[in-house]
Symmetry: D2
Subunit: 339 residues, 4 copies
Amino acid sequence: MKGKPVASVVTAGIACLSCLAWGQGNTVKYQATINNVKYVYASLPPVARLKPGDVLDTNTLDCFGNAIQKPGDTLSMAKGDNPLTGPFYIEGAEPGDTLAVKILDLVVDSEQGVGALAPGFGAINPTNYTPMLVPPLPPKIWFYPIDHASNVATFEALDSKFTTKVPLRPFFGCIGVAPAGGEARSSIVPAEFGGNMDSPEASVGNTVYFPVNVSGALLYLGDGHAAMGDGEVAGTAIEVPLHAKVQVNVIKGWKIDWPRFENDQAIMTVGAYRPLDDCLRIAFTELVGWVHQDYGLSELDAYELLSQVAKIHLNEMVDPNYVVVASIEKKFLPPPKKR
Amino acid sequence: MKGKPVASVVTAGIACLSCLAWGQGNTVKYQATINNVKYVYASLPPVARLKPGDVLDTNTLDCFGNAIQKPGDTLSMAKGDNPLTGPFYIEGAEPGDTLAVKILDLVVDSEQGVGALAPGFGAINPTNYTPMLVPPLPPKIWFYPIDHASNVATFEALDSKFTTKVPLRPFFGCIGVAPAGGEARSSIVPAEFGGNMDSPEASVGNTVYFPVNVSGALLYLGDGHAAMGDGEVAGTAIEVPLHAKVQVNVIKGWKIDWPRFENDQAIMTVGAYRPLDDCLRIAFTELVGWVHQDYGLSELDAYELLSQVAKIHLNEMVDPNYVVVASIEKKFLPPPKKR
Amino acid sequence: MKGKPVASVVTAGIACLSCLAWGQGNTVKYQATINNVKYVYASLPPVARLKPGDVLDTNTLDCFGNAIQKPGDTLSMAKGDNPLTGPFYIEGAEPGDTLAVKILDLVVDSEQGVGALAPGFGAINPTNYTPMLVPPLPPKIWFYPIDHASNVATFEALDSKFTTKVPLRPFFGCIGVAPAGGEARSSIVPAEFGGNMDSPEASVGNTVYFPVNVSGALLYLGDGHAAMGDGEVAGTAIEVPLHAKVQVNVIKGWKIDWPRFENDQAIMTVGAYRPLDDCLRIAFTELVGWVHQDYGLSELDAYELLSQVAKIHLNEMVDPNYVVVASIEKKFLPPPKKR
Amino acid sequence: MKGKPVASVVTAGIACLSCLAWGQGNTVKYQATINNVKYVYASLPPVARLKPGDVLDTNTLDCFGNAIQKPGDTLSMAKGDNPLTGPFYIEGAEPGDTLAVKILDLVVDSEQGVGALAPGFGAINPTNYTPMLVPPLPPKIWFYPIDHASNVATFEALDSKFTTKVPLRPFFGCIGVAPAGGEARSSIVPAEFGGNMDSPEASVGNTVYFPVNVSGALLYLGDGHAAMGDGEVAGTAIEVPLHAKVQVNVIKGWKIDWPRFENDQAIMTVGAYRPLDDCLRIAFTELVGWVHQDYGLSELDAYELLSQVAKIHLNEMVDPNYVVVASIEKKFLPPPKKR
């Protein structure tokens, strides 16, 4: 499919990339299967190449590689955790630039979702990195029938007859790029390169920014969630495969240290480390910096203003690193500087 | 002022106290001044006594004791931090019971609010309990003119000409009771007894529950906030005196370990300790327990459901203990058991 | 018993109080029993008064109030945790001064010690402040026969026939003063006022310094440990009553923020908060400050030197606050300034 | 150089590998230079192959790649942090086995060591993962002349004329293997694969054990420290190149999850994550498990015994993950089971 004239590489000087008309590049289609997924964010050979402005039309498997389908299936049937679609090479993206990914469309690609208690995962049970001298919780699996017409999933209690409906709000649990310094990171870890952020912000209407660490950035996608509570406390969301369309772009010469989100209403920064105290410190030093640099408030004025109007979204406290998103609505800010 | 027949002491057996008509007891008026405030939550002689169902009509000073009024005033002019109105003795409240405080009305009791960078406070600067070998931030004070007609405060940048309007959403930064075990705790600390929780949930329409640790519970109020961002990251909210009306009640034989909030839409639990990781663990073990005991889901079903629909509100990461509120909307729950 | 001329109040100007001959004041005897112990550090009426230079000859009950004596006894038989002997009023000690307590003699005052797994305590099991959605460990009690001749306690396994001998190194688990700001703190909490530090440094040959927060300082002692591993990981040491002699002194005009230890070989600082990361930050900013102020190195030289020769003793990670002691041997330092 | 009959691959069934005579295999020599070092722990092509029992005779560059040599040199002159010698392929090592590395000899390979304050590193200054809204400390470099005859390094203050002597106790700051799951990890990170543990335990007389994650294990060495204080608080030790001899062995069928150390006196476990609280939890659950499995105590008896006699060595709180070593002396344990 041929698109309108492409936005090509965006040069720095634009404070709100997500607010721009990006034009419409070509659409690049790619089909992920259990045989071509990856389990690390790394400098691997790309499966496809996109130009800035191009739209990627692809799919992701669920965090179990779509292996858990019916009562009696077990967690051990998954070949690996969080199989990733990609990587995708974005032309023109070089270290020191920022990759922008605008999420255009996300559709749950199954008739049910899966939730699970898995040993070693969870916010209020012993885990691999907060181990305790007590037996782990038993593994358990919940299936969530999905009604596409009404856009809800149904929680069905295992130990009683109770059911309740959960509205679908699909997002990528995993979205990230090749890490810096030659690292290869597991698909269950979020960090500076994004990754398993489990951010509901990675949903339609938002643009996510990543630091570019290698030529082509190398975008990975996966771990679709149909819906998720704050903190993802029991260790999983409503896990689903997704059909997805995202548009990519490159901001030349804009160097960021951690992922960021943006939409018409707000700017958002990510802290993805451990413990939560440090996640929050990372997210807020990033947010003060963004307000200072692009909106012109002094650092201390920005700090004070955030103390009165900032929002904190605690995405997850269950992965090997935790994730906090801090944000401020643009209505509280001066107009952005031209960059 | 004489009220309608009083609800008297509520006996356990009611799962949603806040949803009840409490009747209307007497209104007890009390005027706080800088000369009768307290600086600890403790077993001090009460300033007034209320019966269950009574309405307390009182006021609170701001966190600086209303001492900072104009440019040039300094933080050292405050006689102490978070002066508290109270304590109020609630008849019939005994250890092992729960005190319920329904917040009926909160009005900002001044023409301006105050925000400040104070040495030792703040989420992304060195503090007394996260000290660093670097100079502290300079003390700074922001004044927020308040427009009662439009219900907004105005942020005025110190280092540029920028101003922006912040909607008023007043709440008690401090609300708590005498601690257990004969402790007396500073008015800047939140913990099991409530205290300096800086919870925007302590606002009109919500009921807050506290464990009763001593006869009469001994309720304290203070530290009004006209508005506050999540995390209160720079160390203060828009600090204001308040005029307040709250109604008190006692739930006999309902023993809770940490403060809780409730309204018609949601149940909410508080984790008030340090670090944030443990705040979250406290809040969620409390919330699983509440859902299990009052709504009848098994613990693991409750845990899974929370993983899909829970909300986390990170209230503050700046006091000597931090505060997280976890919640679930009642629409996702079965009807409560009769208690 | 009449002593030699008393050292009286020491005026600031002495960098190593513990190295001084303090003279020998009177000996004040006091007998603690379960009927006169306290359970909070607070401004309570003193049980005895000492002059600077006086020696206190007293005893402490074990952390269970000596209630657990034989197999079959249970944790619930303790009337409270960590009963405290005191408070002792030290004449001349005023806020802004430092109280010095030189530990002269500690003798285990029983034929056995007690160790226990108690619900809510322990470094690798769920606790009150790191709760988990798993069952707690079962309560268990170990008895340690004590051989005063050979100075050892014997560990006797409960689940096998294994025994092993542990050398006695008695110390006060609890040693502290009345807190600042009118607080009263539980005898299980360590913080700025000392308290339940569980520091093996609180042993014969060391002097411990406390900030004086109220007139007379109000010294409390308790929670004897016959021996303890680093971290006190299962929640108790070998718990014993003690017979103790300590000498007190006052350093006028030396204001410290956290407890400190000193002996002829080393200076030691305490960080007593939570999490461990912040304990360490407190202890090391204190230690850099001490080296800088009393030994004349610049702060950055002190920081670098500590990076090469500091010692860290992780005392405990089981109380409501954790405790780290950081130290440097005096042999690595210049001669102290005269203060 | 030809050795005595080789120990070959050790089969499981030996509880104290380090206590065994390993025989004497061949000596394999390898010369590291700035042109053949690596900056990640990963599955890279090996630079040499060893059989179990072989001795590796090699060298390591300092953490700056030996680039900082004289006053005026700057941190930016280092091509990368912690250049690694290796990887070395150990024959017979397969996933599920344990690699044993006995450290035979370590000699400081220079006439001076280097210490530095580097932006983003340090326990009590803002870092990349505990960022603060305050200026960083200035970069600074200290040179430590080394006297090989007396085995001391000399600290020379930058801001005064003070000098002091620090005894040499050389060890590998970096020692580790290829990570699991296809990860490649930066040479500044410690984790399950070992790595930048900054453990003084990685010194002569100790054997270190690593989980084998890939065929050949792939051993890396680097980051020599002539001496280091607990915590490595300012961010570096006395950084030096080393000349080293280590002997390698493989324990078939012994699967461990985290690195361990052992010598004739003690068994030691590593927790290498973040925050310190979790390091300690990892190290102690590992140590309870080791005592339980190899020495036959029940888990709860082991936990209680550790509470009385364990040692904790806080290695560092400055890298992207922190490191705690927990240990127990063998004299407190029953004889090990034959494995």
